[in-house]
């Protein structure tokens, strides 16, 4: 029995079979229940853990269908349309689900109906839902007639109101003409909500489920007769599924960019791995290679009894025709592109997508914003910076001032001695080493982006005027230094403020 402390004392939030037989009820005060049966075992309720468990079960339930939705903190709605035959019919599917859950130590009530509303009502309030309840096709609304009004998913006060009106079962509500139903309620919203739920029950209003993850358009499953226990078996299943998926994608002329491999554990729960591709593909061999060094991340545990492979982010994919005889320059390039795409996929799946990037120009004169990292593109020619400049000469000015080869993400503060306050540095100390400057070029003045709203609050350094110097020290090392701020323009509240120096890059 689980309890929760609330404003109205300690209340029971969940009871198991024996406790219910002893007379404990959900919502009852703990002391009342103890008065009836003093030997009740009480545990503190942990709603977060409940949600986590439900989430795990929901992911496990993806074995039955790609569309699974968590309902409150104690229910799952599964759309098994078109999936039942994979498990030998609806009855077998429900039986399978209930036995598996009970083996995992969970008590489940299940019902199968035409609409989510009817299934919800039957699973929670129908007699015999412990062993799975299946309403005949097209008769869900009839099956639900005998259930009480709480099965309509209405607010408690609406249910109370209905019972005061003498309406106790769904059947009674269904028999009433709609117009009279509306007249019985004081507010129109309440009447609407009752009608809405009734319509959902019989399917007049469609009730779409919000799945855990959007269902993949291409998905292949493989149940195992014997649980798979080692990586070899998993990789065998993966290769088999990849071939089947490749066949289906080929038929549709499509390729996927995201492949998701889910393993369902015999003892409940699931584990999954995914690979991302830089462009649509379906070639089983290539995708298997990307999965290869991830397979060991799957812990088979007590065995895996079903596998699912799904292709997401699907796009039409035309097969480049390889020339039979001539090896012209274009086929060379295409081969190169293909190999490059494969390489980029290998690297991004190993290192993480955000760690394999390309440098792209950005329209800003602030050095740290003049570029950005983007995903490497492999289509035909590269986006060259020269082209970007020619396309937008105003946005991408061709800067001829010196720029370093390496830029620090965060400029590093240095101590500088300069001949004159506004002049280039004579010597400076960076990383505890004093460096004597023998040659310097500059300054190159970079103004802050004063036209951007809120530029002054944008951190101290980027709100200040910077003077950049390219300097060379006595050992031939070259640095890009800047002085942040102007001597004649100190901040108003700090009269003894002085500009600071930073190293921003190395040549």
């Amino acid at each position: 029995m689980l309890v929760e402390h609330g404003t109205r004392g300690t209340r029971i939030t969940a009871v198991n079979g024996p406790a219910a037989r002893a007379g404990a009820m959900i919502g009852q005060a703990l002391k009342d229940a103890r008065a009836i049966y003093p030997l009740l075992q009480v545990e503190q309720a942990d709603p977060d853990a409940d949600i986590k468990l439900l989430d795990r079960i929901a992911h496990w339930a993806l074995r039955y269908s790609p569309i699974v939705m968590m309902d409150g903190n104690d229910g799952l709605l599964i759309d098994i349309e078109g999936c039942a035959h994979l498990f030998g019919g609806e009855a077998r599917l429900i039986e399978d689900a209930i036995t598996r859950l009970s083996r995992a130590g969970l008590t489940a009530h299940a019902a199968l109906a035409d609409t989510p509303g009817a299934a919800w009502a039957l699973a929670r309030f129908g007699a015999g839902a412990e062993s799975g309840l299946i309403s005949p096709i097209g008769e869900s609304a009839l099956t639900a007639r005998l259930l009480g009004t709480p099965a309509l998913r209405l607010d408690d006060d609406v249910v109370l109101l209905l019972s005061r009106l003498g309406l106790k079962s769904i059947g009674q509500l269904q028999d009433l003409p709609r117009a009279t139903l509306e007249r019985r309620f004081r507010s129109r919203e309440v009447a609407r909500s009752v009608q809405w739920r009734l319509d959902q029950l019989d399917g007049t209003i469609r009730e779409p489920l919000r799945p855990l993850r959007p269902p993949a358009p291409f998905r292949v499953t493989m149940p195992c007769p014997e649980p798979a226990l080692d990586t070899a078996a998993i990789s065998f299943a993966l290769n088999e599924l990849l071939l089947r998926l490749q066949y289906r994608l080929e038929e549709a002329g499509q390729g996927g960019r995201h492949f998701h491999f889910i393993c369902f554990h015999a003892d409940g729960g699931s584990s999954d791995i995914a690979v991302r591709l830089s462009r649509p593909d379906r070639q089983a061999g290539r995708i298997a290679r990307l999965f290869a060094d991830r397979l060991e991340q799957i812990d088979p545990g007590y065995g895996i009894d079903a596998f699912v492979l799904a292709a997401d982010d699907v796009a039409p994919m035309e097969l480049p025709q390889k020339s039979l005889t001539q090896r012209s320059d274009t086929t060379f390039e295409r081969d190169d592109d293909e190999r490059l795409a494969t390489l980029i996929d290998t690297l991004s799946n190993r290192l993480g997508t955000q760690n394999v990037t390309r440098l792209a120009p950005a329209a800003s004169h602030l050095p740290e914003r003049a570029w950005r990292n983007t995903a490497p593109v492999v289509q035909g020619n590269t986006v060259l910076w020269q082209d970007a400049h020619e396309a937008e000469p105003h946005a991408m000015p061709l800067n001829t001032a010196a720029r370093p080869l390496r830029l620090f993400a965060r400029p590093e503060a240095v101590d500088v001695i300069a001949e004159v306050p506004d002049g280039p540095p004579m010597r400076f100390t960076w990383r505890r080493v004093a460096r004597a400057v023998i040659r310097a070029r500059g300054p190159e003045r970079v103004a802050p982006e004063w036209w951007v709203p809120g530029w002054k609050d944008n951190g101290q350094v980027s709100a200040q005027t910077r003077d950049y110097y390219e300097v060379e020290d006595r050992e031939g090392r070259r640095y890009w230094l800047f002085r942040a701020g102007l001597y004649d323009d100190p901040p108003q509240d700090q009269p003894d403020w002085r500009p600071r120096w930073f190293v921003h890059g190395l040549f």
Binding site: L351, L405, R406, L506
Partner: protein, 286 residues
């Protein structure tokens, strides 16, 4: 006979829609495809007169705090690389923090389009060997550059085999604190030095310059020299030290190539410079 053949070949080229004649293509292949420093004296000392494509070139700094300054040399060598295509530059996240990230506009200043660069940031140093090998083997890139602590001997050996198989050059830049045994085809030690002044702006930083030491190479004797990068010709030039420690451009005084003895010091015998050049030239012919 041969002229008739060439005419026929030209005709085929025209049918194929290529603009260049066969002879021009042939010429282009024989002249452009070598990867050289651009200074005859240095190139003559290299094995077969050029840096080879299908090999690993390893660069170590004279001191680990100078590791960041290796990347300019590597980038400029890639500017000299007569190949189109992408370049993969791998760096560990730790090096990116320590030495800064590769900066697009800076690459562009060197004449290397940043759009050609693919940057791979490695969270773990031990991924470096895998990434470099995979990239070198892929036959998809013009060159591969890897920055990080030195690889194990086995890893470098595998890398050399991958480079031989694919013909993709791999440059490894050692940013670690140690130098370890390596199977790299050529190994260089690099120290930044004060370059010759820019004649247009003598007060500003001059040409970037390095003291280069080839400590190991198959098929050539180790040597040491001072080179600077000439931005106008896009080539490396020999420079020589003058009395006050500053360097003069090559026009002022011819630079020297000094043989390098294994104990680590260049031998100061100027007469050897011509000998080495001669040997290099000989191996090129054979």
């Amino acid at each position: 006979m041969s002229t008739q053949l060439e005419r026929l070949r030209d005709q085929i080229h025209q049918i194929e829609g290529r603009t260049k004649t066969f002879a021009a293509l042939k010429q282009r292949e024989s002249t452009i495809k070598r990867w050289q420093f651009g200074d005859e004296a240095i190139d003559a000392c290299l094995p077969e007169g050029a840096l080879s494509y299908d090999s690993v070139h390893d660069f170590s700094p004279d001191h680990s705090t100078n590791a960041a300054f290796l990347s300019l040399l590597a980038a400029l060598l890639i500017v000299r690389l007569p190949r189109k295509g992408r370049i993969l530059w791998c760096t560990t996240l730790q090096d990116a923090r320590e030495n800064g990230v590769l900066y697009g506009p800076g690459l562009r200043m060197l004449g290397l389009d940043p759009g050609r660069m693919i940057i791979a940031h490695l969270k773990k140093e031990r991924d470096l060997a895998f990434v470099l090998e995979e990239a070198t083997r892929a036959k998809a890139l013009a060159a591969v550059v890897g920055e990080g602590p030195p690889l194990s001997f086995t890893a470098t050996r595998r890398l050399v085999l991958a480079a031989q198989e694919s013909g993709t050059p791999c440059l490894t830049l050692n940013t670690g604190r140690t130098v370890s045994a390596s199977a790299a085809t050529t190994r260089w030690r690099v120290a930044p030095i004060v370059g010759p002044p820019n004649p247009e702006d003598p007060a500003g930083p001059g040409f970037p310059a390095w003291s280069l030491t080839l400590t190991r190479a198959r098929g050539s004797a180790p040597f040491s020299c001072n080179v600077c990068w000439n931005d106008e010709t896009h080539s490396f030039n020999l420079v020589s030290p003058s009395r006050d420690g500053a360097l003069l451009p090559r026009e002022a005084q011819s630079g020297q190539i000094l043989p390098y003895d294994q104990r680590g010091n260049p031998q100061r015998r100027s007469s050897l410079s011509t000998q080495t050049a001669g040997r290099g030239g000989h191996s090129q012919a054979s």
